[in-house]
Symmetry: D2
């Protein structure tokens, strides 16, 4: 039980921005966090109007994050924001994140964590130097049945992991939407804003994170092939990667944004010696566990057989079985665990293990390294590229 | 765009209460509402502790709703709560709802709206007299694809409605849990707290509401058979009803709380001359539309083909297709539409048609009448009982 | 291991007939039966042409069943047909079935077994008198996972049965097809050919059979409401029945042939004290078993965990898991079990218990009684009608 | 309408053999083919006993195929077998197939068609030289909705094909079953009997065939990685291949036989510019078609909207929608189309286009080339290997 709500500021996420609105819903949901200030847009008029729409106090609607950090840092401790959420395009993550940490603010940042791996490493150094907290919003790691999947692998019930298939398939870039006024498409396909990879940076990183998170195994080698399917596009909009993991497991990672008719089809299957698990983001409350020698089981979030579900799954549910929770709740779980941990830290309490299970800067570094390695492998004629950081 | 957040009070919903927590998440979600006060429990200590956990100002943690209404009514207009949410057991809905209205507060109330039909009718009179607003939380009417289903029927695409099958199947009362310390089970199976029906009052009313809401047809006759399946229980825990609707449609309503292994399986199918629709609460983002003469279609919440989805569906989505929204978002939609309408009213703006589409006192009266008629039919040896109010 | 193929004759089932062709596929499938003769149509030219298409010997293509029985009865034992399959419309089952038995031929007959209950009872007497075998083709009882469901209930694993929901929903009579030259629709909606019920006779009987077969419980009372939904139709094309079973179980049976967009949606759910099962004909290789206190299980036909599947399920599979078997194989199982038993009888071997598990005249009598009772209940204003034979 | 049944002989497929029994069911099903002779085992006693169980005439139960070809070739035309089915292990396909052709018999042969590509090419030359027919039993090409998928791509409705994902995942070799007396496992993992690849030869070839069959595009380059997952195994039991197709399409092929808990999970997805299709062998009567700009559609085998289904789909169905057909019917379709074509040829009639759509020697050559190329790519450090024949 916390003593007070945590105070959040936001950089980016002005009106019409997609992911900023999602972050606010996720942060609002559990009543543990209040948005107190923001530098919501590079454009002063948008920043002001957006702040007003969000009912911010007029003097805490800032026009730049620079201004925001300075002003907030000078506020008394019982008023000052506790953390800042950065929801700008990729190229604009690093500078405000560094400045936040330097000014004593904890950080929530969208993935990929930075524009380059080098920036991510500098950020890690700064996090360690300051002792502040950083949440990287790999949303899919917030789903209760993803937590369950991780714990199930960890328990050894499936036996040694042999195969990992992960795929993330979307269709929204099937046309050259970046030339048709789609703001999302525009920056995400622009190498100066998005980074050196499009599809793999945007969604391949989620898939890779999920595979490593659930299996507990790190990628050691990869064999990637990226494609620009839509003529005129500047970055990969599709690709596939053969994977080798620690301990001899192998797998595949498929990502596409030109798979016409697909929505947001992230799915993972992990096979061990004795059984396997399957989880699909679009039916997130179900974890199918198949066994070599007995009938498959359907594990359900929020279900009554709490002895069969790990504490990590139950901690991350808000409702009983059959009351579907979704993407926003998964996102909310990231915020909730971050907030529980941060409040505990502020108030000198010990955080629970379940609260600490949120993605942070190390996951960010894996993500940036994944992008680097995939791009390098794609450019190589060698079949296998060692995964390096 | 509203000028300010709406201020909410809450009656009931202290710590450990199930539905109160759900209401708060739903109200928090969109950042349009803030909880400012509460009379959260009949027990002063619980009320105080719960208020503290929710970060209420100490002077707005009340021990009784009586006290709350008095104190809040005296506050200045820019501080006073705008509406009160009543999440007590059924028998304790009516008194605070009446008192709220009498003191000038809008009302959000759990279903069934009151303990008896007579109370519901008095409440309706009071709503009309005061001109205040009432939201009845028939959650399932808040799902975007339920909205879509209603609009699809209304469009005439399916032709004249012939059949309606609705079922609501749970298993959580498969044992005599009310004697094993399950608080939810305890009051819901107690006729002095729940009303004259158990299963039909608790979940049959949801099913009946959904059927009438989507089809636009009212039940005119029914043939009900209720059961007490678990020995020692005082109210029906299971039942089935044959239905006749306006305009010649017929149907069935099945409800059970002793269907071992089921979670919260609310499902509806509506058949017209040319095609049909199917929606299941546990996969809520999908509406299956089957046609007599062409392939079935899968309509998806949040999808890109916005020309095929009604404005009622799109208005009630927060995310693009494939980012599953669930029960809490459906609940949030009730609050959001209520809040949008209330803010518009307060600020003298015209509400949109989509905002006005939330359940209110008339739905509450239908619910109470449904309970009365089902119980009467169950007691009768006549096959068909006319549905009366 | 049989010594020889069994020899089959057929009455009805000429070219363009639907169910005759299905019977032949089912009989052919396992190579244990050969079609040797037929009286395939009332029309001599159709009978002749159909026989030729089926490669029958010209002298065994008969123009009437009368002629066929006489001729076949005079053939030597090693040539004479062993059994006759009757696939004429309902009104023309009884006479050939009686004549077959009187001439010493075993019988396979489509359901409903006769036109009236009285005929069914006479047929039963004749079966008992002659000691010959009769197979009633309640196809759905031939599916391996239906066998599994029956054995699972019998094992007691689910506990005492409380609820049975069965539904059989089709859409093919959504229009007045009987006036549009649809031969199937024509006789099935004609009371002089089909019997006193349309939908309930045609598919309601399948649903009732499945419920009693799986649960092992007989219907004791019913509360039926039948409808003629399509104007101009002469028999019910839709209906619903509330059911009471032996040992206190209750249930519902829904049947419709005017549910636009539905194909052949037969589905059953059986709930016991500890768990439940769900089987749907359109995904027949899966039996979902849900438990009150542990995760649901997916039992699959042909799967490797043969210790978990009953011998009745495994006996009725031809392929390993994941090679879907369907309607024709289920139909083939009826023929196979009938043939295995008949061969054993002929050759003086003891049939296995699994072979004997095929529907016969007693099921036929239950079917005819079901029709009678449903029609009587529909005509009554009393809520409940005792199920009588 | 044929004049007579076709006469089939069989090589291999003695009692306890898996695939021989499947072939017989498939051939029997439609009553167009009769099994008249066989050389059913290398072991004379098994050959004799198996022939007896299948009710073969004693003088047509042969101990060797050599003997069978000689004896049958000398029979009069109205008695002699028309074609021979070869269901021996891979290494024993070529010799009997050549001998059959040389003796004037048409051939049905299991895939992979031969042991080496060179043999396949010789066989092709012999087929062309003799003008006889050969059916290669790529079963999955027999499913009606696979036919529909092919026609849908061909129609251009999906636009230019961009992506093809195909996967074939089984778990039955998760343990070293070949050392535990599993006869199937034993020869399929033995390079002297199975060929140079295990998993890719056994099931990868099916997946590759399906991809090329449906898309109409040939593989041009591949990047393969094969694994021996289970210690002690001699051939690959797992692998993944990145694919490049004609006309710029790319894709992935995943195959595994060590995916614990999987049955026979063959699935394909094909993405075009405007939409995509998805088909899974374990739910074979459904073809999901997703569109970029409108709701996804569910196309169903046997459905009433015959204007939307191609003649290739409807020709390959035996039952109306909702009466599931499965693996055996798909297999039966291969035999049926082969038999219809062969009868037409024998009787001097023109075969229909739909009948001619069965896999033959060219598919066999593609299959052998696929194996060669995958194995070559796996051994290479170059990322991409040109697909050569």
């Amino acid at each position: 039980m916390s003593n007070r709500k945590l105070r959040m500021g936001m950089i980016g996420g002005g009106k019409d921005a997609f992911i900023g609105a999602i972050h606010r819903i996720a942060a609002n949901m559990d009543g543990q966090i209040e948005l107190v200030c923001g530098a919501l847009s590079m454009h002063a008029d948008v920043a002001q109007e957006s702040g007003k729409m969000l009912f911010l106090a007029p003097d805490r609607i800032y026009n730049t994050y620079d201004e925001m950090f300075k002003a907030e840092a000078q506020k008394p401790a019982d008023e000052r924001m506790d953390f800042v959420t950065i929801v700008t395009p990729n190229f604009a993550h690093f500078a405000p994140a560094m400045q936040a940490l330097e000014n004593g603010f904890n950080v929530v940042v969208e993935k990929p964590v930075t524009f380059t791996l080098e920036e991510a490493q500098q950020l890690k150094a700064k996090v360690e130097e300051t002792g502040l907290m950083l949440l990287l919003t790999h949303t899919y790691a917030g789903y209760p049945m993803v937590k369950e999947a991780k714990q199930l692998v960890k328990s050894g019930a499936l036996g040694k992991v042999r195969k990992i298939y992960v795929e993330y398939i979307q269709g929204w870039l099937s046309r050259l939407s970046e030339r048709e006024g789609n703001a999302q498409a525009s920056w995400r396909t622009d190498p100066t804003k998005s980074g050196k990879s499009g599809c793999m940076g945007d969604i391949g990183t989620h898939a890779a994170h999920l595979a490593e998170y659930i299996s507990g195994l790190k990628i050691t080698e990869l064999n990637a092939s990226l494609n620009i399917v839509v003529d005129g596009r500047m970055l990969d909009d599709d690709g596939a990667v053969l994977l080798r993991f620690e301990e001899g497991a192998t797998g595949t990672l498929i990502a596409s944004q030109v798979a016409a008719g697909e929505e947001n089809a992230l799915k993972i299957r992990v096979y061990g010696e004795n059984g396997s698990l399957e989880w699909a983001q679009m039916e997130p409350n179900t974890l199918i566990v198949k066994w070599l020698d007995k009938p498959a089981e359907i594990l359900r979030a929020g279900s009554g057989y709490t002895d069969r579900l790990s504490s990590y799954a139950t901690h991350n549910c808000r409702t009983p079985g059959g009351h579907p929770e979704g993407y926003l709740e998964a996102f909310g779980n990231l915020y909730r665990n971050f907030a529980l941990t941060l409040s505990a830290k502020i108030e000198g309490r010990e955080p629970k293990a379940e609260w600490l299970d949120f993605p942070s800067i190390d996951d960010g570094i894996r993500g940036m390294a994944f992008i680097n390695n995939v791009v390098a492998s794609n450019q190589s004629n060698e079949k296998w590229t060692k995964y390096t950081i």
